[in-house]
């Protein structure tokens, strides 16, 4: 495992460093998340009862969209400057590289979004337990967003205008995550256990385990052309 760990760690830290820079996605995702959370009440009205009812779902959708913003560059940036070819030459397998990139993406978008969510839950008047449920659901579910998003990113990496097709491909695949994630908040709000947590965890686990293999296959197909 040791020969694989160093390249994995190197790739992960490199991606993290890139994402924190100006053109990177970390700050953008947080800003977008907060902005959407601000816009929705402006569009829907200030009735906190209503906002609390929809808050879980709205914040989940906002988080997914925010995480999506930096996805199109996940593989494309490396593809364009040749780094992707170098990555295929490293002792780390392409699947391992994909896993490193997905992890870096989650650490730079999913995790910060999860940590910001309690603040935004206040804007929607979510109760304490609901806020906790939302944060937990995001913690469990955002890895799936990064994983499924990486599949879309790997499929579209050679497209100049791929950024427009990426959401179209990825969002339908993320429907279960949104449903189960928001479902966790609903469970706490209605007091009825509905199994959302288990379902979300299963979906996330499956997505994160399978996605590096699919993404690697797509990268290979793109590089072969």
């Amino acid at each position: 495992m040791t020969p694989y760990f160093m390249p994995f760690w190197a790739l992960l830290t490199r991606d993290l460093r890139l994402s924190v820079r100006e053109g990177g996605g970390a700050a953008l995702a947080l800003g977008f998340f907060a902005l959407v959370a601000t816009l929705v009440p402006l569009g829907v009205g200030s009735d906190l009862m209503l906002l609390a009812k929809v808050g879980g779902g709205v914040l989940w959708v906002a988080a997914v969209l925010a995480a999506l913003l930096s996805l199109d560059r996940l593989f494309q940036a490396d593809y364009e400057d040749g780094s992707l070819d170098l990555i295929t030459l490293s002792p780390l397998s392409l699947e391992g590289a994909a896993a490193a990139k997905i992890t870096a993406h989650w650490l730079s978008t999913g995790l910060p979004l999860t940590l910001l969510s309690p603040v935004l839950s206040v804007l929607f008047g979510l109760s304490g337990p609901a806020t906790l449920a939302l944060a937990l659901s995001l913690a469990i579910g955002t890895p799936a967003v990064s994983a499924v998003g990486a599949i879309g990113a790997s499929l579209t990496l050679s497209l100049r205008r791929g950024g427009l097709i990426l959401p179209l491909i990825v969002l339908p695949l993320l429907v279960p995550a949104v449903i189960f994630g928001a479902g966790m908040v609903v469970a706490v709000q209605t007091g009825l256990a509905n199994g959302a947590l288990g379902l979300l965890a299963a979906f996330s686990l499956a997505a994160t385990l399978l996605s590096p293999f699919v993404a690697a296959m797509a990268v290979r197909l793109n590089l072969a052309g």
């Binding site: 599949i151 499929l155 579209t156 050679s158 497209l159 205008r161 791929g162 097709i165 179209l168 491909i169 969002l171 339908p172 695949l173 429907v175 279960p176 449903i179 189960f180 479902g183 609903v186 509905n194 379902l199 979906f203 699919v214 296959m217 797509a218 197909l221 793109n222 072969a224 052309g225």
Partner: protein, 237 residues
């Protein structure tokens, strides 16, 4: 087992076989359409639904074709990835607009059926929502095909997308049904076609299938000829 299939992988053989089959298929399609319409309009009004059951004769077949065509795309995608079959690439690409059209028809006719039945143009019923999501999957698939310039590369990449979608569709359907039970209770939409409505529906279903096969074969044939045109144009500058 698939030897016979690969024998027709040869474009020339495919052209000749499909060429002889098509007139018969078209004829069967027209016959089934006329028979289906006659049977449908002759059927008595339903006890609960009145004459709106007529819409089900064109809604259910469209919805069924929406998923069937996707299944065809998935199979073609498998052949495309595993066997690198030229015809498989073409088959997958040409089926997509047809599937998207069926899906859209299912949504529109479903809405027109829902308005007199439930009083609303749209209902967040799991079946309608799954169909809507499937429509987006079709759009994404076709968009990806159009965006990648190299045809072979596009075929492989879209094949991966189709397979990922295929794995996801049961999960999406399950999650939507789960979501529906969470917010609304049992599904109200029961497309149960029994008794005097079974046969009209089956015949219309047959029509939809035959029409799809005819259109699909024709589009594959067109694509094969388009390849020949391109080759000829490249050969003689």
């Amino acid at each position: 087992m698939f030897d016979w299939l690969f024998r027709y992988a040869n474009p020339a053989r495919f052209m000749s076989l499909s060429g002889t089959l098509l007139p018969w298929l078209w004829g069967a399609a027209v016959l089934s359409l006329l028979a289906g319409l006659y049977m449908g309009f002759s059927a008595p009004p339903d006890y609960q639904q009145g004459r709106t059951v007529l819409i089900l004769f064109i809604h259910v077949p469209a919805a069924i074709m929406a998923t069937n065509v996707y299944a065809c795309i998935v199979v073609a995608s498998l052949f495309s990835l595993v066997n690198r079959h030229i015809l498989a690439d073409v088959a997958a690409r040409t089926a997509a607009p047809l599937g998207a059209a069926f899906t859209l028809l299912a949504l529109v006719t479903g809405s027109l059926w829902g308005r007199p039945m439930w009083g609303t143009w749209w209902e967040w019923d799991p079946r309608l929502v799954s169909t809507l999501v499937m429509f987006f999957l079709y759009l994404g698939y076709s968009a990806l095909w159009g965006a990648i310039e190299d045809e072979t590369k596009a075929a492989r990449i879209c094949a991966v997308l189709a397979l990922v979608g295929a794995v996801n569709i049961p999960i999406i359907k399950f999650s939507v049904e789960w979501w529906n039970s969470l917010h609304q209770g049992e599904s109200i939409m029961s497309g149960n076609l029994a008794g005097p409505f079974l046969w009209p529906w089956l015949v219309m279903q047959l029509f939809y299938m035959l029409l799809f096969v005819c259109l699909w074969l024709m589009r594959i044939r067109t694509a094969i000829l388009e390849r020949r045109v391109r080759n000829l144009m490249q050969a003689s500058p």
